[in-house]
């Protein structure tokens, strides 16, 4: 041990020994899971305050759980957004499509078509339903697990797959890790990969919108694990200081790779309760309840649009799969967790709701799932015509040096020349016929 002052302990005083608490999840691989400690209030039991209310009146909402869909698969209480059946079916369709997309892309990675993929299984409502509650031109600053937003906003699926394959059709020119999409046209900010950086950026965008007297708001998504980043504190501080028209969505899916939410402070309080200290409106929401997700996001959007202030929403959900294709969750958590999760599965719950209100049936669900899978399969084939990762159909070499700056400075020009020389040395007979682009 390094040199340090001796302190009083050496003098033999009788103060108790301190001990360090290192959080530990309740269940590890092989453990029997019992989630009875999770308080699941009845659907419809949470009050719905006025959208312009004082955050101080919302203490209960930050510790409780906004729920709409009950055990009876019916919608309950003041948070019921009362969506028409067509809208509900559209929501279900986007969620089913997101799930089908994830299945296919995950498989594609396992087949060696790309390096990396991340599913959002079990969390579809937190992006699809939330996104549906926003206007199409509201600006979103997502994290890496909100593919549901792009699907909901009608971003062409082939663009998503081209990006995942980093092929010659990838409009990000093969520069970004798979799933780090960007689409200005869809008011979808470029995904970073560094965690929580997008949260204060969303606040800045919202501030700009307010500065300009615009009517568009911003929304950002961040995992519960990354709320530990300083950027999240920056976001909350700037949001409250400038009363920015922004929604801070925290996706509490319980796990950050292998670290459970306790390492972000979940043993002590809720993530929605972070809002209280900042004077932000705070809502804690059943993230597997598509109607509650929609209603909460809509509440926050209305609040922001009326200049009534920012909202922090915690979507309480469960990451049903691994963090990404690069980790095996059976190595750090009990497989029973997914089955025992007390809030169920968001797709099943919405489906059952539609059936319960007489607007859907198993047959149509089966057909929809099949069509979604077929659609993804078809678009995947189209994308594969543009190449898959590592098979040569990438962007031309020179594009590597573009967009570092608006104009190419001399030092990058010299390095670009070097890269071209290296390619010519490697392929002195000219480029191989199959696909390599100059």
């Amino acid at each position: 041990m390094a040199d340090r002052p001796e302190g009083n302990a050496a003098k033999g005083d009788n103060r108790p020994k301190l001990s360090l608490h290192v959080p530990e999840p309740k269940y590890r691989p092989g453990d029997t899971v019992d989630f009875s400690h999770i308080d699941v209030p009845a659907a419809g039991s949470m009050a719905r305050p006025d959208e312009a209310c004082d955050p101080a009146e919302m203490r209960d909402m930050a510790f409780g759980l906004v729920r709409v869909l009950g055990e009876d698969n019916k919608a309950h209480g003041p948070w019921d957004p009362k969506l028409d059946p067509d809208t509900l079916r559209t929501m279900l369709g986007h969620m089913a499509m997101t799930r089908a997309f994830d299945e296919r892309m995950f498989r594609g990675q396992r087949q060696g078509k790309t390096s990396f993929y991340m599913k959002c299984t079990g969390e579809e409502a937190t992006s699809v339903s939330a996104s549906m509650a926003l206007a199409a031109d509201d600006m979103v600053f997502p994290s890496y697990r909100q593919q549901g937003i792009l699907i909901q906003r009608g971003y062409p699926m082939i663009e998503m797959i081209n990006q995942i394959y980093s092929n010659k059709g990838d409009k990000l020119k093969g520069r970004q890790l798979p799933i780090m999409y960007s689409s200005r046209e869809h008011s979808f900010f470029t995904i970073s990969g560094n965690l929580a950086t997008q949260t204060p950026q969303a606040v800045g965008w919202a501030m700009a919108s307010a500065m300009k007297g615009d009517s568009r708001i911003a929304a950002t998504w961040v995992g519960e694990g990354s709320t530990a980043e300083g950027d999240f504190h920056s976001a909350c501080t700037f949001a409250t200081v400038y009363n920015a028209p922004v929604i801070l969505n925290v996706i509490n899916n319980q796990w950050a790779i292998s670290s459970f939410s306790g390492f972000a402070g979940a043993e002590r309080t809720t993530f929605a309760a972070r809002a209280l200290g900042y004077g932000l409106a705070g809502l804690r929401v059943d993230g597997n309840d598509a109607l509650a997700c929609y209603a909460a996001e809509q509440w926050a959007a209305n609040r922001a649009r009326a200049n009534a202030g920012p909202t922090l929403i915690e979507f309480f959900t469960y990451r049903a799969e691994g963090h990404s294709t690069s980790d095996d969750p059976s190595g750090y958590r009990s497989a029973q967790e997914r089955e025992e999760w007390p809030l169920g599965d968001p797709v099943m719950r919405l489906k059952n709701h539609l059936i319960a209100i007489g607007e859907w049936d198993e047959e149509r669900q089966e057909k929809m799932d099949l069509e979604a899978a077929e659609h993804v399969k078809k678009v995947t084939k189209e994308a594969e015509a543009n190449g898959i990762l590592g098979h040569g159909l990438h962007h031309p070499f020179r594009t590597m040096f573009e967009d570092v700056f608006e104009e190419l400075p001399w030092h990058l020009q010299e390095q670009a020349n070097q890269a071209v020389r290296e390619r010519e040395t490697k392929f002195p007979e000219g480029l191989p016929t199959k696909g390599v682009q100059g």
Partner: protein
């Protein structure tokens, strides 16, 4: 380059032109830019009502209103991050970091975000921001108000780094930076805010108005990024410097009677390599001077470039004069500062053979 060659010469007559110190010139650049483009916004700690701890933003809030010039929380990460978001919206933010020493909490937002936005989105999103920050020592700022961290930023692909050495340049360069569509780090050498510095801390400071480089035209003008300024012309050696050190090396050369080709680099990225090569090829000797710590400082890059590109013209090894690899000490700041003795010794060594 040569049209501004006499800027550092003492004023010869009582010119009627407007003379400004560097603070006033920076304020003027902000004013001109804000007047021309309503998307230009200024923010930072104490920049609003108070006008900045160095007064660079004085009067701007009164003139342009609180939504375009405003104070921020003490949160450099947040300042840079919201500037990224504002840039994505379409504004041209000019955030101020009160001291360059405070910029580190914002590094991830600068390095991983602002600098990469254009690249990672293939041009869909850009970060047209200019981060202004006073840097450098010589004002008894101690280790947290004296640093010169420029090499941290020149090492990052996607960032431009600009450092003015005169009021005239400060205005023209800052307007260029604000109009630039890439993120720019604009370091203001605070030791020479009020007047150029000879390196002799025990001699009285001469105010800028006694020097022609303080003649700052009204209204709009730009100095292009990536173009060095020829400070003095000489055949004995080339001296590469920027910021405060431009004036110190000029004073040392004058004192020693050395005829040096002094280049004020003005922009570190992109660098005016043509001017450097042309000068070193002519003189055959090169001294590099910066105030920042030595190891992995920007002088190392300059030394490597000169050696790689001008080796067969060199008649002596390239020399570097820098701050020491220690924190900037408060009471011993002039022992740290690369002053006339350190520079003089290096010149003697280069000219020896």
């Amino acid at each position: 380059m040569s049209e501004t060659a006499t800027q550092d010469a003492p004023a010869t007559e009582s010119a009627t032109e407007r003379r400004l110190n560097m603070i006033e010139a920076i304020n003027d650049a902000l004013d001109v830019s804000m007047g021309r483009d309503e998307d230009v916004v200024v923010m930072g700690e104490d920049v609003g009502y108070f006008g900045g701890v160095f007064r660079c933003t004085a009067g701007l809030q009164e003139k342009y209103g609180k939504t375009r010039v405003f104070d921020t929380p003490i949160n450099e990460c947040g300042i840079i991050a919201v500037a990224v978001g504002m840039g994505a919206y379409g504004l041209r933010p000019v955030p101020e970091i009160q001291f360059a020493d405070y910029i580190y909490p914002g590094l991830d937002q600068l390095i991983s975000e602002a600098a990469r936005l254009r690249y990672r989105s293939a041009g869909e999103y850009i970060a047209p921001m200019t981060v202004r920050s006073p840097f450098g020592g010589g004002i008894f700022g101690g280790q947290t108000h004296s640093q010169s961290p420029e090499a941290i930023f020149t090492h990052v692909s996607g960032l431009k780094t600009v450092i003015p050495a005169t009021p005239y340049d400060a205005k023209g360069l800052l307007i260029s930076c604000i109009e630039d569509n890439d993120p720019v780090i604009f370091f203001e050498p605070k030791r020479i805010y009020n007047g150029p510095f000879s390196g002799y801390y025990d001699k009285p400071v001469q105010p800028w108005k006694k020097f022609d480089a303080s003649v700052v035209p009204e209204g709009y003008y730009k100095i292009p990024l990536g173009k060095a300024r020829q400070v003095t012309e000489g055949e004995q050696l080339t001296i590469l410097a920027y910021g405060t050190m431009v004036h110190v090396v000029e004073a040392v050369c004058r004192e020693k009677g050395v005829e040096a080709d002094i280049l004020d680099l003005r922009t570190l990225v992109p660098l005016d390599i043509e001017a450097i090569e042309a000068s070193v090829e002519r003189t055959g000797r090169c001294l590099i001077v910066h105030e920042a710590t030595r190891t992995s400082g920007f002088g190392a890059e300059l030394s490597a470039l000169v050696t790689e590109r001008c080796f067969y013209h060199l008649e002596a090894p390239v020399e570097r004069v820098t701050g020491f690899d220690t924190p900037y000490p408060h009471s011993l700041e002039w022992a740290y500062f690369p002053g006339p003795i350190r520079i003089g010794e290096a010149i003697d060594k280069i000219l020896k053979d």
